[in-house]
Amino acid sequence: MTGDSATVPATDTAALLLGAGVDGGPVDWTRVLRRRSFLELDALARAEALLDGPGSRVLCGPFDRLESPWLAPQEVTPQADDGVVVARGVISGTDAVVLSIEQAFQGGGVGEVSGAKISQALRLAAADSRAGHPVAAVLLLETGGVRLQEANLGLNAVAEICAALLELRPLAPVIGVVAGSVGSFGGLSIATGLCTHVIVTPEARIGLNGPAVIEQEAGVAEFDSTDPALIWAVDGGEQRYRTGLADTLVIDDADAVRDAVRGAVAAGVTPPGRHRSERLDVLDTRLATIDPADPPEPLRLRTLWGQAYEPPPGPAVTSRRGRDVQPHAGATQSSMVPGERGLAWTVALAGAPPQPVIPSVLRADRDDTVFLAVVPDPDNHFYRARQGQVGLTECAALARTLRAITAEDRLREQRRPIVAIVDLPSQAYGRIEEMAGLHQAIAAAVDAADAARVAGHPLVTLVVGKALSGGFLAHGLQAAQILALDDPGVEIHAMHKAAAARITLRTVEQLDELAKSIPPLSYDVRQWATLGFCDGLLTVENADNPTDADVRTVLAAIADAVTRARPGSVDLSNRLDSAQAVKVRAASRAVRDALAAQWPTPR
């Protein structure tokens, strides 16, 4: 090292990111060597690094042997704790629970058991907090998302985690830490977007869709998944921090991460309405600065949007609509087939033409019931959402509508039922979507749906066609009651079949064969209905063009579901208590009971 390097200002970005800088002081490269890497720690060591001193306890650890019941039948070796460490202890004097995902096991994928550990721990923390003993939660999110071997149970687990997180968040802070190296992708990136405070390192990544699935679905011109510079420019920890989608950027050092967590815990809860996922004003105005036909480079977004999560300094632009408008040739290539059932059923059930909130989000009112659907918009300026995918503006429109209904009914004795009509091929797979933070937009929709349910609106979901993955998480899976048509065209899953086969290293035929004995893997709605969260499988004559009799059948089923939801609890616990859940979700229930038994009551 030359003498000159010692005089480089500590603001030198590279030095800071590598941990060589001292605030306001000279660069000291030996600090890089002295630090204790947080990334190199396993899930347990990460949790221990954050908790104060000795005295922390692991709940539902390996010797409780709460492993996944679904992996061994698929010839996959299970892990004894299913890859999530639940550690109780104290952080900076506050009771806390750390939920640490082991990224080395199944890429941190969320399965039935690992998901139940996270959601049930959050619920126990919420119960203690409500009783006057706040328990902060720290989520160490290193995950590729839903574990595809447990597809529909994993997808549901994410919905339950989001609801539990939102139950705790007003009572005690929920801190998300994404350190790397897997990052936070898939369903749990939505949970990241719901957190009180998000801490990242430069090695972290946060995104809804990983680069590889975007390239596979949309082509290499849309996203080159072999280009690390591009990936970190879009999803990277520093970019998320510089564009206000993360709150604290720390170097890969266990002490630095711990100090950041302590600071966030000490800062306590965020006032209602101020969480990122509640700031629809920011979401709307930020999206208005982007014309997808001529999108800004990721670096430009830092000045366009600014580091604070506030309405952006950059100007609003006029986005060009129309099916020919795209930034590069083939940008709209897609394997997704636009579904027509969402519109058909919305019109039929409402008995009147729906009102577009935006062209791809329809609202219809019948008596005191509100119907909401996401439908294809072939002219969508966000060109990756033209086949009915749930994209950025769809989430914003859903969230805005749900918030408006909740606000309108604030003083009503009986809140209006809200029915989500679901026929959507998935969330939108695109580079602009990830750059703009699709996970954050979906978090806004999830937050709004949860808030409506908690406020007392009977939320009912009616699946009339496809209900896939992040799209279903954004629109449908927060409902108190879920109904589905008993029809071969109805498909509920964590990922479409070809991609799921590829990722789990199987052929489509092998996947179909396995699904016969492993219900959460199945694409058949009758198998899905056995998992414990189906509140009605409805037989209709024509699922594409509902007959008058079909409409009567479904309206009656919705009315029944509303009646069941009215006095019911406003959380999602019925999904664990249904008759089917008792049979099929025994592992989730065992986690719930064991965690509750081991949860300390020190006072």
Binding site: A43, G61, F63, Q79
Partner: protein
């Protein structure tokens, strides 16, 4: 996935149970409990790789000849090499407080605290 069962004669006792490792690619986790039939080490291996039964037999036999720690051993394996399996076994024995109580502990094994 393949499940294998082994039993080896064992003479030494451990103080407590131990857990090491993770079921990550090229790695394995071990759960050891000082319970079960006296005088033997019972081993269950679940491995994602088929066709290595004899390698498991040889690796485990070699280890338990040197560290005959009685109790129940569960190995959840994601294609670890024999060297790593042996390392993890030694770590588990050490963590259980039984790794050095054998007369013929291999050189390189640290004393258990």
């Amino acid at each position: 996935m393949r499940t294998l069962q082994f039993t080896f004669p064992a003479v030494s006792r451990a103080a407590h149970r131990a857990h090491v490792g993770v079921v990550g690619s090229g790695d394995l986790e071990i759960l050891f409990e000082p319970t079960g039939a006296a005088g033997s080490a019972t081993v269950r291996v679940r491995t994602s790789v088929e066709g290595f039964d004899e390698v498991w037999q040889a690796t485990l036999q070699r280890f338990f000849a040197r560290v005959p720690l009685e109790g129940s051993w569960e190995l959840n394996d994601a294609a670890a090499t024999p060297a790593l399996v042996t390392l993890r076994l030694q770590q588990a024995a050490q963590a259980a407080g039984g790794g050095a109580s054998t007369p013929s502990a291999p050189t390189g094994t640290r004393e258990a605290s």
